[in-house]
């Protein structure tokens, strides 16, 4: 009996050796679009998000970043608004040793079940966009889940609903990129880009986000 048990354990251990990782390929990939130029930086989206998720001071699932520069008279200012980008191939997901992070096949939302988190913070380190937020009180990591409950109910996330300028929206990222998705965040004649200045290389994870970039914030042609 003991020998049999030992053999089973050896088989199980061998089966767990050198496992690979295969990214999830979703049926549809949802993503955000943000107009860097028309955003007034009111941070209503940040507050709506904190309110919805009951976040304490500190962690912010969404951030509005102020970018200013130039010399008089040629000065500029614009905002970059970013949360979790629900990447096509997220870096956070393969780092998680407990399976707390997962990606939905239905819509590509990258969610985290913080009740499974052991606080190793690898996801926080690996994410190129600073999305996972560490909560020092619970010693766990939390992050934007694109208000998955609202999405399932047929509505949009709180940050989008809280945007008074309508410069933030969510939708199928491929349609946002090719311009076929009707959204007030992209004005007539405007086109969206994958990356803005100082943002990490989108080739790392293929983030599901698009921006209407300010002329001073463009990195693509």
């Amino acid at each position: 009996m003991e020998e049999e048990k030992k053999a089973r354990v050896q088989v199980a251990v061998a089966a767990r050796k050198r496992e690979g990782y295969t990214p999830v390929v979703p049926d549809t990939q949802l993503g955000f679009v943000h107009n860097n130029v028309d955003c007034i930086g009111c941070r209503a989206c940040e507050i709506a998000c904190k309110d919805k998720n009951g976040l304490p001071p500190g962690p912010r699932f969404r951030r509005v970043m102020y970018v200013e520069g130039g010399r008089y008279p040629e000065v500029f200012a614009y905002k970059v608004n970013m949360s979790c980008n629900h990447c096509a191939e997220p870096a956070c997901l393969p780092t998680c040793p407990t399976g707390a992070i997962f990606k939905r096949t239905k819509d590509g939302i990258v969610d985290i079940d913080s009740s499974l988190c052991i606080g190793c913070r690898r996801c926080e380190a690996a994410c190129p966009f600073g999305a996972p937020q560490f909560d020092p009180i619970s010693n766990t990591v939390m992050k934007c889940n694109l208000c998955v409950d609202e999405i399932d109910a047929g509505r949009k996330p709180y940050c989008v609903m809280g945007c008074m300028m309508r410069v933030l929206d969510v939708g199928p990222i491929d349609k946002i990129r090719d311009g076929s998705y009707a959204t007030k965040a992209v004005g007539p004649g405007e086109r969206v880009v994958r990356q803005v200045r100082n943002m990490a290389d989108p080739e790392l994870t293929n983030p599901s986000v698009a921006f209407v970039a300010h002329p001073k914030g463009r990195v693509e042609g």
């Binding site: 040793p97 190793c120 380190a125 966009f129």
Partner: protein, 375 residues
Amino acid sequence: MTSNHPKSDQPAKAIHPVAYFLGFFLVFGLVQLAFPAKKADQPVKAPAQAAATAESAQAARPAPTPVSPTAQLLLEAARAVPPTPPKPDPQPLVAKAPAPAPVPAPAAQPAPAPEAAKAPPAPAFPKAVLSASGEPDYGKALWNPLHFKPAIDTATNDQCLACHQEVLEPSVRAASPAGVKSADTLAWYQTLDTYIGAQDSFHRRHLSTPMAERLMNLQCNFCHQGSNPREEAPVPPTATNAGYTLRKQVNPETTCLACHGQFPWQNMEGLPGPWHEARESFESADAPNGCLSCHNPEGGFRTERHKVSYLKAEAIEQAATENADTCYGCHGGRAWYRISFPYPRHPWPGMPEDTPDWAKGRPTSSDPRYALPKN
């Protein structure tokens, strides 16, 4: 006019106002004599008596003076950080990080005896991050030049750990809030032979675990290169790239990707597929590491490798002969990102003159920042 007061018909005796003041001061003086106020210059009590007095005073004391959350965080960190010891060795230090000292008395609490109160407090933080009153100042710490270029390029781990010692303390939960035990979990990349030990934080995995100490020589500023700790505009504003990474203090493209990128098997002639599928045909009991079947002095491919200051090249080469997963661990075995790191293409003997498309534009030597001193 009539009055019901029994003495109202008597002539009123006027009391001079000065008499009131004299009476008041007389009563106040008597009270002071009867209940003298305790003063700081009273005789020093015996230690036991003083301690008892301090305890009773502390028990009766209301809540301590409120401090801001950021100051509270710094104070808590100060309690856990011992004074920086004199640096005996300029070598990188992770293994030599000062051992945790006994937790000193909270700075916000008064000393138990007057003599202790007169002693200068132990300096837990560098002076540069203290306010005029000697308390840790979060704003000063945040904007300390050490966090930015060019000072951060020459910052030592000692300097960083003076305030950030907690990154080397074990911090992983024993179990998740739902009860998943850390000891029972294993990620896919943790099934490699080279991954040993309990679940740990990424800082400790890169700095203080046995594998990190044996094979790596990572410094804090290898990853933390002065990227913007804020999410707002550079000060002063600039039209150029200030080296900031939006919302992130580290640029993974130049740091993490070096060891957490994909294994580019498509670029390697003779490899039929990903390494985890093809490796068996290259490995045997005599040659456990299939990578070395081509990447050896006889095979010729890429013999100049790992000779940078943040790695221990000789130790890596030695480990590669012992363990099949030493190479794969950092070359695809724990890939977080969907691309590969563009390693510099050091020329090797017999290297083809034509550069393949995938290698065009790559440097032919390592980043000067990580160059080893030439003997």
